[in-house]
């Protein structure tokens, strides 16, 4: 039996539904907003994504199910009953998302996403505008995906003691398939290290947030809780960012997510040599899966990591499959068997 982490962030019965109502709905076009606002709290609470595509049904992805928005404001699992997103809906939504200033978001559109206040990430697709063969920006936006930020404090609570030894944080790698709560767990570990907890004094954490996903920075200011002693390098390439942090901020722990490029391996070596602890994540299902990737294989061969946390979606996002030590021996095996 495994555990999942899903503890509400601010008390109240439906905190995420409240956040969605206050922080996400104002950005939808008035017609769609009216329909979505009629969805009951318990349905919104488990909402993960709102997907709009021109001339396609409005899709609301929940934790375990994909549902379509009905014309009467309800939800249905069948697309035949769905309301369609027309060109006007899309235009208005985009205008609201970018504050009627699409021209000011060239950088964000080039990357393909924008972070809303509250840390909700919004992805765009449309027609790419090229400049010397490279994407300069997007125009004629045809699809929008609003991903609800789920800041689940307490996600790391049950595993943090396995990642600390003698008051020192151990180099940790989180292995997780997409949408299994990797970023949420990473953020919560950062938060706990940065704020401290019983038996662990707070440390300075340097965070390289290449995709603005962990801290959810908007105009440089973190929108999600990442702790009191965390310095964020927002939108910076991981390899370069880690080096910059080593040189400039002398952190005790460096956190980043989704390593996998050649530069990352070099930077990791640099970080470890500087005596800084590392917390990072990688896409994958298990050890064998990640070892198929040459760069990861190379990093693992150096025996850099002292703890491996494996996540899955088996019992919903945030299922902690197991925690392994540096020799890949399960730490929680006994406990898991007991369960």
């Amino acid at each position: 039996m495994t555990n999942t982490f899903e503890i509400s962030r601010s008390g109240g019965s439906f905190p995420i539904a409240q956040n969605i109502r206050q922080e996400v709905l104002p950005f939808l076009s008035p017609d769609l907003r009216m329909l979505v606002s009629q969805i009951p709290d318990y349905e919104l609470e488990v909402l993960e994504e709102i997907r709009l595509r021109i001339n396609a049904p409005v899709l609301l992805k929940q934790r375990t199910e994909d549902k379509y928005l009905r014309k009467d404001g309800g939800l249905s699992t069948r697309w035949e009953h769905s309301v369609y997103c027309n060109e006007e809906n899309m235009q208005k939504t985009v205008a609201l998302l970018c504050n009627s200033s699409l021209y000011a978001l060239e950088e964000e559109l080039r990357k393909g996403f924008l972070t809303l206040p509250g840390g909700h990430r919004t992805g765009f697709v449309g027609r790419a505008v090229l400049d010397r063969g490279r994407v300069r920006t997007l125009k004629q936006i045809s699809g929008v995906n609003i991903r609800v930020a789920r800041c689940v404090s307490g996600a790391a609570l049950q595993i943090i003691r396995h990642l600390v030894k003698g008051g020192v944080f151990l180099n940790t790698l989180i292995i997780s398939p997409p949408r299994a709560g990797k970023t949420t767990l990473l953020r919560d570990i950062i938060c706990m290290l940065s704020n401290g907890f019983s038996g662990f004094s707070p440390v300075d954490v340097g965070l390289v947030d290449e995709r603005s996903e962990i801290a959810g920075c908007r105009e440089g200011i973190p929108q999600l809780p990442i702790g009191r002693r965390t310095d964020v390098l927002d939108g910076c390439p991981k390899g370069e960012g880690m080096m910059m942090l080593v040189r400039s901020m002398s952190p005790q722990v460096i956190a980043t997510d989704e390593i996998g490029r050649k530069e990352d391996a070099d930077a990791i070596e640099e970080v470890i040599n500087a005596g800084i602890k590392l917390l990072t994540t990688v896409h994958g299902y298990n050890k064998e899966d990640i070892l198929r990737r040459p760069v990861i294989k190379e990093i693992l061969a150096q025996k850099v990591f002292e703890r491996y946390v494996v996540l899955s979606r088996r019992r919903g996002p945030g299922t902690i499959e197991n925690i392994f030590n540096e020799e890949w021996l399960p730490i929680r095996e006994r406990r898991l068997k007991e369960c």
């Binding site: 104002p26 076009s29 008035p30 907003r33 235009q91 208005k92 985009v94 205008a95 609201l96 970018c98 504050n99 009627s100 200033s101 699409l102 021209y103 000011a104 060239e106 505008v129 920006t137 125009k139």
Partner: protein, 172 residues
């Protein structure tokens, strides 16, 4: 005596009407100039400073005068307050509200209206094209207005006084 006062009143009122009509021509030119100036300021904010539209329009409102300043301030306010409005809709609404205070012709208003529809909804390059185009149109209109002003301002003023005089003479 009463006749004299009446006659004077008629002459003065016709004279004033003539002067107001003449001055309106000057004001019209001035409005067109202020609009161009405002749009140039908007261009700087949009193209070079990449300021979001509501703030950009607020800055422009501060840099312009009279009803044109009021217009830019209205669009900015509309964007800040209005829920679910695009830049174009806010622009149209503000234009409609300020229209009674403006001396712009129908053609000029429709030029502005058309320009507003694409406001903020495309990339920098496209915005620059739109701004350049509207500025050129307004410059042409300003030249025309200037010519009309030179031709008709004096005529209106003289005509006002003359009409007053003629009417008085007819009544007497």
């Amino acid at each position: 005596m009463l006749k004299l006062i009446g006659a004077l009143l008629v002459i003065i009122s016709f004279g004033v009407i003539g002067m107001v009509l003449g001055r309106n021509l000057t004001k019209h030119t001035e409005e067109l100039r202020q609009l161009q100036f405002g749009l140039a300021a908007l261009e700087t904010e949009i193209i070079y400073a990449l300021t979001p539209l509501p703030q950009a329009l607020k800055t422009v409102a501060r840099q312009t005068k009279g009803p044109i300043s009021k217009f830019f301030a209205e669009v900015s306010q509309e964007l800040n307050e209005g829920q679910g409005q695009t830049g174009g809709e806010a622009w149209s609404k503000a234009l409609e509200r300020v229209a009674p205070y403006l001396l712009l012709t129908e053609g000029e208003m429709s030029c502005l209206e058309q320009f507003g529809q694409g406001l903020g909804s495309s990339d920098r390059e496209d915005q620059l094209k739109r701004l350049t185009s509207i500025k050129m149109q307004l410059a042409t209109r300003e030249k025309e207005a200037e010519t009309t002003k030179n031709q008709f301002q004096k005529i209106w003023q003289t005509l006002g006084w003359a009409c007053g005089l003629v009417l008085t003479l007819m009544f007497i």
